[in-house]
Amino acid sequence: MRNFLVSIFFISLFFSCQSEYKIEPSFNSYIDVSVPPDSITLKIINPYKKSVDSVMNEILCFNKTKMEKGKPESLLGNFVADLCIYETNSYDMIDFCLLNNGGLRFPLDYGDITRGDIYKLMPFDNKMVIVKIFKEDILEIFNYFEKKGGQPISKLRVEIENNKVVNHNLELMKDTFHVLTSDYLANGGDNMTFFVDKEVENLNVMLRDLIIEHCKRKDTITSALDQRIYDYE
């Protein structure tokens, strides 16, 4: 009898303790079935789709090389960084361009490139800026390369050996340098702390628009690796 009462006591304790419930995976299969699009929802989407498609399907140029991002350098990274330098050549103080792989969101396939492809590559409304940095910041940038293993650059060449930058093409007699980058990175995005609180000139053009203009101007585009970041390992 005593045992019986004790077990009743524990069973009631068990049920009073709210958190002691059971969790199990579902055997329901109805989420896994293919579903047709909801017609009311499609009706809402349609006018938006029409206006997006008419703009996005415009063919800008022909791409001769499939471009993807990567480290230490990449076809996609070189293409974007180089065109940034090319399209801003009226600013002759620019020493080099530094962007980030994280900002390149989609590869460029071989073949016709549409405006939509460039939106996929660069969906963010990041604007181009020139940041004035000091000589000591260059060392920070090198440290950054050593840690990150590379980022898209142009007009700059570095050689890395045993995780250290051992050679570069910058003229270190100068005290200040002008770096072409995006406002996102200039504000310290992707841990680019060396840009924070520096003098910034806004070029009032979005990185995406720069790419689009370049593609339209070029008719055909291509890219190549040139060991601009060379890792001896």
Partner: protein, 307 residues
């Protein structure tokens, strides 16, 4: 660690009775209360199913709408929630600034969403301008918007009532500094998520008598660093029952169970990104509105057009 004797016996009995008395055996005809929570996160303006890559044919907002409609037909008590980053990722955001996303979520009858970092991508003003298209609530508890145009438009928490069950929902946002440009988030103040979570959740439980407490979080599931995350919030909490997460784009095929400060369970769930998945959790309650069983599902949204 020495466990006291009483505690040991108690735990042992719990374990053995748990094995010998599966809850499945509870008679379903006794009209159990069931709450179905459906959730998404990081939809990133993906209006249509993915056209290429690993997730080809998956996702799509019209497909999600059908699926949700069919689930609503079979279940009376549905809560549909989103854990942020509704914005950014396709031209639909660049062109219309989130208008279409909000309209479609309203059509699907979302109950609430929290703000992700990318929801600030057009600035506080850009978000505020499109808010009129959202017929659901935005909930966040650790951003202080008092000095911004969003003052009074974002709820600190919201209580939903389904079949006499009171569900308190609050929201947590990720630290904006370093992730979002200052000019975009403006005078939004970020407060410590763990402190805020414990404060709001105990208020919901003890002052508002909620039966269940849900945290909509855009903190991210977990990090290698000390950065605050859903798992940390769960571990340091004592009143939260469920965290619906986002930000890290984690596909949790099975919800994670965390033990909190008072040795109770916290469920942490996340449904990938891009509207590829719809998370589903069915909570079974007893007569006292206590959670007795949870069924967790995370399945693909497949488009008929691709299959």
């Amino acid at each position: 660690m020495i466990m006291n004797r009483k505690q040991f016996i108690y735990n042992t009995i719990l374990a053995t009775t748990g094995l010998s008395m599966p809850f499945n055996s509870v008679d379903l005809n006794k009209k159990q209360k069931k709450l179905t929570i459906l959730h998404t996160n990081d939809m990133h303006s993906h209006i249509f199913p993915f056209k290429s890559g690993k997730y080809k044919g998956l996702g799509g907002m019209a497909e999600r709408a059908s699926l949700i409609k069919s689930i609503r037909e079979r279940n009376d008590n549905v809560l549909l929630l989103d854990a942020g980053d509704i914005f950014q990722g396709t031209p639909y955001f660049n062109f219309f600034g989130g208008e279409l996303e909000f309209k479609l979520m309203s059509e699907m009858n979302y109950d609430a969403a929290t703000l992700g970092n990318h929801d600030f991508d057009n600035g506080i003003k850009g978000f505020n301008d499109k808010l009129k298209y959202a017929k659901f609530s935005f909930i966040n508890s650790n951003y202080d918007f008092s000095n911004t145009i969003l003052n009074g438009k974002i709820k600190k928490f919201k209580i939903f009532k389904k079949d006499q069950i009171k569900i308190g929902v609050f929201g947590l946002g990720v630290e904006l500094d370093g992730l979002v440009q200052k000019r975009l988030y403006g005078d939004t103040i970020y407060n410590d998520p763990i402190e805020v979570a414990n404060e709001v959740s105990s208020k919901l439980k003890f002052d508002y008598d909620c039966d269940m407490i849900v945290c909509l979080s855009h903190l991210g599931l977990e990090y290698e660093s000390d950065k605050v995350s859903d798992l940390k919030v769960a571990k340091n909490s004592s009143c939260i029952d469920l965290i619906i997460g986002g930000h890290t784009h984690s596909f949790l095929e099975k919800s994670i169970i965390v033990t909190n400060q008072i040795n109770k369970k916290v469920i942490v769930s996340q449904a990938g990104y891009g509207g590829i998945k719809l998370g589903r959790l069915d909570f079974i309650f007893n007569k006292k509105n206590e959670i007795r069983k949870v069924i967790s599902t995370l399945k693909d949204i497949k488009s008929l057009n691709f299959s």
